[in-house]
Symmetry: C2
Subunit: 390 residues, 2 copies
């Protein structure tokens, strides 16, 4: 792999007690279990896994999540595509609608031997991709985005004529690789039956689109679905060739809140140091503010509001009802959850805690590395760099 | 200045139309006017400006905001202190309660000739700072944090005995430089009279603490207040020696919402490209998702909820009632504000918009550089690198 990969730190790598805070901690044991769990699930359903690396943004994590060193993988930015290409990945979908001005970077990746698939849902984009394909003699592979649940982008599966119109604008100059959808609404949760229904809606939408295209004589080899909740609750993936999921590697409080994981599956946390108290208010102040936790308050809409995060001891075990109740840029205010009669733990200035994040994608984005531990050990096994940007 | 400073890009620096998106744009004309406005205000009130550089995180911006190349300045992390020290700043307050484990880095900065002042509000911290001072023979300068409004950290001004107890734990081994407070509650706004009252509460709290310390024989040369709202609404700063403020350099929608600035004072925006539409819903989709805008929804609690940001044309003029109504990681959903009868502008795939942020500190943190323009021109004058981390 590339220079962007692991800085193995060896036996003198130190311990959680010695790290500069705030910083990001990754429990490799939990991560490995999360990956194994989803792989086993999808093997049973006959679909392949194309992990989304937008949460990881790390060549070291990618190595441990992909089924081979060259992929397949999904990315959300061209920066990710370029970084993972540097690390040897050769099979990627850039799963955000392509802006025509980004096509030169897509072509550069193809020139480097990377099969980077773009995604689109408009005739304008299809014309731009077809024109770039004609200009360069490279048939850029593209997938049509299907809107399975009204969440964001994509062509509704019932809009057959719009789907065919975009396909006709793309082919034959560019390559129609298939159809892709994302059940964004599944993050709302709602219990097992609701999650199973989201998964079936996602499957049915993209399979219908594939049939419409094939019926009109277009190829459609890849039929791609993906979200962490539906990947864990789908019971039938007939017609689907691959599943994308990203946050499942780490999980987070939002995923726990909708029942996709348990709290002790969450592999990512932020290490923070106690810097003071407001004892009359029951507050413990730390250096883990929103800059390290992110501004994400995803659990605010769930049954259990976890504030800016759930507070654990150094071994990763949650304190009873202890959350980051509020946060400033570099200050976290820890308090017992409203309505709880739990006591405040005895944490002195200089003591350290680990905070489970609302949303792993947002929290990880605030950091430039994972500090890797295993289980309840505080020994740092490695420091894995992350990247950001576009 | 250091290698971390400006990469001047010259006449071929390009234009907003040519940048990779999403990216961060800074209008230097607005920034300069914002800085000049606060400097003139404070000159009239007889207090000096110690700008908080936690929003800027850029040596280029710092140069244009500080009153001299060596400071004074305020920082929120030791990373900022180290980066600005590299750029020649010699007079800084690290305005987050000191964790004892961070004292070695504080001492390293002093060894480099930087007068870095730490902040504390507990006897434990004072003992740690005094011990480190004894061990090294350097009297570390420290300020006592005063809690003027119950917002976060600090000793309440009425807790005279607690204040003196911390001072006694610090002196004589370390240096008591003064007292410091931050009117965090002023971000709630509430109109001119409320903002003036927040400013007076802030002033009165810290002046009372200074008098208590002096009355007990302690020195207290520096009396420091600071928040952007109170800095702009204080009418009397008697007894105060310096004012800290940070977001005033850029301003943002939260500050506009509480009346501290106008929309056309906001100097920071995120450039994004249209990547699609959901025309039946009145949505325009861009590549400016929450990764580029941040998850900050600070205006959600204000009279006018600006979603994830207010949408402007390429020249920086807001469209009528057009906001980023929702955001995914790399997708922004632009729509007309609920309840408005404004029309959706005719923006095609590939067109570009600029999005004013809810909270400049959070949005800037998502980016590694400012692309500097001036007024309505789309010519890029310079690219100023930013840093992050701790």
């Amino acid at each position: 792999m590339s220079p962007a990969t692991s800085e193995l730190t060896g036996p003198s790598a130190g311990r959680l007690e010695e790290l500069e805070t705030p910083c990001l901690v990754l429990d490799a044991a939990r991560m490995e279990a999360n990956v194994a769990r989803l792989r086993a699930r999808l093997d049973g359903l006959g679909a392949s896994l194309r992990p989304h690396l937008k949460t990881a943004k790390s060549a070291d994590v990618a190595q441990r999540v992909m089924t081979s060193v060259s992929g397949p993988a999904t990315v959300s930015t061209l920066k990710e595509a370029e970084q993972f290409a540097d690390a040897g990945v050769r099979d990627m979908i850039y799963a955000v609608g392509i802006a025509p001005s980004k096509l030169p970077r897509v072509l550069e990746l193809h020139a480097r031997g990377v099969d980077l698939v773009v995604v689109l849902d408009t005739v304008e984009q299809a014309h731009a991709v077809a024109a770039a394909s004609r200009d360069t003699g490279l048939r850029i592979p593209a997938m049509l985005e299907i809107d399975c649940d009204g969440h964001r982008s994509g062509i509704p599966p019932v809009a057959h004529e719009r789907l065919l119109e975009v396909a006709r604008a793309l082919v034959p100059d560019a390559e129609l690789r298939g159809v892709i959808t994302h059940a964004g609404e599944s993050y709302r949760g709602g219990g097992v039956a609701a999650l199973q229904a989201f998964a079936e809606t996602e499957r049915a939408a993209v399979v219908e689109a594939a049939e419409v295209l094939r019926g009109a004589g277009f190829p459609c080899p890849v039929v791609s679905v993906g979200s962490t909740p539906t990947a864990h609750y789908a019971t039938d993936l007939t017609g689907v060739t691959e599943v994308r999921a990203g946050v499942f590697v780490f999980f987070d409080l939002v995923m726990a809140g909708i029942g996709v994981c348990r709290l002790d599956d969450i592999a990512m946390s932020v290490l923070a140091t106690v810097i003071g108290h407001q004892r009359d208010k029951g507050w413990i102040i730390t250096d883990g503010g929103w800059m390290s936790l992110s501004r994400d308050r995803g659990t605010a809409r769930q049954a259990v509001d976890q504030g800016y995060g759930l507070v654990c001891d150094l071994g990763g075990t949650p304190y009873c009802d202890l959350i980051v109740a509020d946060a400033n840029q570099e200050h976290g205010i820890i308090a017992v959850r409203p309505g709880s009669d739990a006591g405040l733990p005895d944490l002195a200035v200089g003591d350290r805690v680990r905070i489970l994040p609302n949303h792993a994608c947002a929290t990880a984005a605030q950091h430039d590395a994972y500090h890797v531990v295993r289980g309840t050990s505080s020994v740092i096994e490695a420091r894995w760099p992350r990247f950001g940007g576009w």
